[in-house]
Assembly symmetry: C2
Homo-oligomer: 227 residues x 2
């Protein structure tokens, strides 16, 4: 029997590649998807397809409405910014959801503890999107310490490890590596503001960074963008 890992899986490009990393390392895969009231709920369907294709042992979908903690374009009526150049993305974006990764990692920790899984994977990336404070290595290190103090694991001598295989990679490197690992990026969803049929808008920050990554990797993005 292999070691178990809990992987946070949104169905986006980064988390899907992160799942591929965990699979490559030989873990039995437990995928955790959080339905937090995001307006790009289309990605939940992507997460289910990805989980299936990767043959995860189990996918858990947790419903939690974070819209009540207002302040982000991903969960309320603030408009998603469009057609920004990358230099405009350096501030903390309006798409920031307060404490999102802390909530997600806490949920992953809860599930991991009851599974006796001590490896948690999260596809955060510090390079391409420096605006999110909860994507920085020092944040991850601090959460890992908190996790080990929070749980029976910490008491009994086991140690949780938070794996962030993408944290220092560019989007292009992520796409190259994922492609080598066999990821079908046509199943993934990155757009903050997808069209009715789920096709990406091509103009939000996530689409712009994704398209730039594919371009730099000289790989074509299998998704359908508007002309």
């Amino acid at each position: 029997m292999n070691k178990k890992a809990v992987i946070l899986l949104s169905g986006g490009l980064d988390s899907t590649t992160c799942l591929a990393f965990a699979k490559e390392q030989g873990f039995d895969l437990f995928a955790l998807t959080v339905n937090y009231g995001q307006r790009h709920a289309f990605e939940l369907g992507s997460a289910k397809k990805v989980a299936q294709i990767f043959g995860v042992e189990k996918q858990s979908v947790v419903d939690i409405d974070l819209r009540q903690f207002r302040g982000s374009a991903l969960t309320d009526e603030v408009e998603v910014p469009k057609d920004r150049v990358e230099s405009e993305m350096t501030d903390i974006p309006v798409t920031y959801v307060p404490a999102r990764n802390t909530i997600f990692l806490s949920l992953a920790l809860a599930w991991a503890e009851s599974l006796k899984a001590y490896d948690i994977f999260i596809g955060v990336n510090a390079l391409d999107y420096s605006g999110y404070p909860d994507c920085r290595p020092e944040y991850i290190a601090s959460f890992e310490q908190t996790a080990n103090l929070a749980t029976k694991a910490g008491v009994s001598g086991e140690e949780f490890k938070i794996h962030t295989p993408l944290i220092e990679m560019t989007k292009a490197e992520i796409i190259e590596k994922g492609t080598k690992l066999g990821v079908d990026y046509g199943l993934t969803s990155s757009c903050y503001d997808p069209q009715g049929n789920g096709d990406p808008c091509g103009h939000c920050d996530a689409c712009i960074l994704r398209l730039k990554g594919f371009k730099e990797a000289s790989i074509s993005d299998p998704l359908n963008y508007p002309n």
Copy 2:
């Protein structure tokens, strides 16, 4: 205008006293109650009454089903232990919910950040119930550090503080202090396994510690216990 504080309020004796501390310190009160599928859901009604009596600015109730992360008598079909003496309660109890306080504090952090509230209160107690790893001061200190790295607050120079006014108090001291602050403990609910009408069982660990606390404080518990 006063400073705002987010207070985790379950409707139990400890969190209600914690709310009274925050009120005494002059904060505007924002009460966060988590409905996590606990089988003593009666305490949710207690939390609503308590929030009303204390005149909170707002109470948020977050629904999140933690039953899928099995392993605790509070959320699944494991039996709540009865009639244990205190020396038997030193191990981590079966009523432990994996990573519960980390999830609760993460949710409080999300709400606090969007409110621009930098003070979070949680009624954890390290003395009376040493079995929960996420009630220890070193855990709280680590979460506070993580919170400040996780958020825009940390980036902009504001600092979150996690207040744990009860952490070193005995149950009797909590009851004495709360009584001085005007808490009506008849509104609170502590039992892990209440009867159909919400009355406490009198035999679970929570009831035993509560009754002992009232006895040591020489105050009578206004709740109705079975004969």
